[in-house]
Amino acid sequence: MSTSTYDHVNERELKNHAAKERRVLLGLTSPAVLCVLTIMVIPVAWLFYLSFIGSDGNFSLEHYQRMLDSKSYARIFFTTFKVSLLTTVICVFIGYPLAYFLSQLPARVANICMLSVLLPFWTSLLVRTYSWLVLLQRKGIINQVGMDMGFWDEPLKLVHNLSGTLIGMVHIMLPFLILPLYASMKSIPQDYMKASSNLGATPTQSFWQVFFPLSMPGLMAGSLIVFILSLGFFVTPAILGGGKVIMVAMQITSNIELFFDWGAASALGVVLLVMTFAVLFIASKLMRLDNVLGGGH
């Protein structure tokens, strides 16, 4: 009888101890959480509040109303979606063959070829945007070579428009697609392909019916990252778009820098945020986001 009482005490003590330890360990995150709260959560909440305050200082939906009424805002949202979608689709078609090629190479060669993906990845996005500006300009190399070889006679307008923006964005986003895709292709067991060919599949059938479906999680994760990053993109369209490609993030900036209109900027920011979360939410229904974000056990 007495032993069981002691057991009970001990059990409770252990439980308390475990709970305390869980809290202490969680407490290790507090400096990081504090930073994120002050620099991200509170300001974004503030912007949310500002977006509902009209020019007279009272609650109003005027900023959202204007977004619905104005044709120019509709065009900005349309452009943002179009550019993000096109960037993602082009990245998929360019990235898949390269990731597949890399996943087939022997380790030593693959590591060297992988540098072609990693070098742009660690190089500043501003530097790469600048490179494309120089390459694509009227007197740039691409126009020079094209005219010297007789492909076209007049310098083509390659930059300060949609095509320039897309070229730059695809170059910047491609590593974000290839890296998760490559990782997922590498994790496909070779035995599956052998099994499928053993069962009589031709190489083409094995690829489309076994390898391709198994590489889908990586492809989806990569596309999601590219699409989400593109939605909020700013630097590349601002430089390579030449004022013809206006995306939401650019409009937010000019609302603040030129017009000091915090309400309008905040409302746009809120819509951009909601769009991002909507995409993430839809994605989370289609795939396991843990693969994209890491974490968990």
Binding site: V41, T123, S124, L135, H171, P203, F234, G269
Partner: protein, 281 residues
């Protein structure tokens, strides 16, 4: 796979592997892949030869070589002070974000508190939401408390952008690390702190160095937040470059770009040398 040794015709007729079509049949794949790799690398590095051009128009190949754009850069106080600001911000961000991120990932990984998953998501959010929101949000807050154009403000804002990367890299290292080792150390009398410092930390060292490098590069390359909250004496290199690019194609940018490529590439190579053979897989 025989794909390296095959210069003769047999290589074309040989299957890429026992379950695949022949190399000849998928020659297009090799050609496409090589073209894409070329298109990834060359535009990244093309600024290096161009930065040595003597001409205003950055032709390629340069008709005449010179160091004039470097001379211009090294004699310009505003570019040099912006470079110093960027390097300082990068180092400070690294010094702040790495320990905070390591602490947080360890805490979240080991603690089985039910809020852990939620806190992880919160800490990862800064790379999921559009950076512009953090840019204008931090600007708004900093105006109220007088942190605009300060190094401190810049470093704190860059830290929250770097934290998610540190968290992802270190968490994945902890996942592949055998926590049993730390438990063994503790059962032999080491405190949790001692066990972490002497047993776990040395084994995830390479990942922590990688995380620190990513933290530095996040800050060093960051444009949008810096555009809003850095300025005056504390304007970053990227902010000044971006402003210069909006106006015209200034060839000085080519020399600065070359320096930036050298900085990031050197750091990556150093990390690789440091971590060779010491990584916990």
């Amino acid at each position: 796979m025989y794909w390296v040794g095959g210069t003769n015709m047999n290589w074309f007729k040989k299957s890429a592997s026992e379950t695949q079509i022949t190399h000849g049949q998928r020659l297009w794949l090799y050609i496409v892949a090589i073209i894409i790799m070329f298109l990834l690398v060359v535009p990244t590095l093309i600024v290096i030869p161009m930065s040595f051009s003597a001409s205003q128009y950055l032709e390629f190949p340069p008709k005449e070589w010179s160091f004039r754009w470097y001379e211009f850069y090294f004699s310009s106080n505003s570019w040099l002070s912006a470079t110093a600001t960027s390097l300082k911000a990068g180092v400070y961000t690294m010094i702040v974000a790495t320990p905070l991120g390591v602490m947080a990932s360890y805490g979240l990984y080991v603690s089985s508190h039910r809020a852990a998953r939620l806190v992880y998501l919160l800490l990862i959010t800064p790379i999921m939401i559009p950076v512009i929101l953090i840019g204008i949000g931090s600007f708004y807050i900093y105006v109220q408390i007088g942190l605009v154009n300060t190094m401190f403000g810049l470093v704190v804002a860059h830290t929250i952008l770097a934290l998610p990367l540190v968290l992802i890299v270190v968490t994945s290292a902890l996942k592949s690390y055998d926590m049993g080792q730390e438990q063994a150390a503790r059962s032999l009398g080491a405190s949790r702190f001692t066990a972490f410092m002497t047993v776990t930390l040395p084994q995830i060292r390479f990942s922590i160095v990688t995380a620190a490098l990513l933290a530095f590069l996040t800050s060093f390359d960051e444009v949008i937040v810096a555009m809003f909250i850095s300025g005056g004496d504390n304007a970053t290199l990227t902010k000044n470059m971006f402003n210069a690019l909006r106006d015209q194609i200034d060839p000085t940018i080519a020399s600065i770009s070359t320096i930036m490529i050298i900085v990031s590439t050197t750091l990556v190579i150093l990390t690789q040398i440091f971590g060779r053979g010491k990584n916990v897989k």
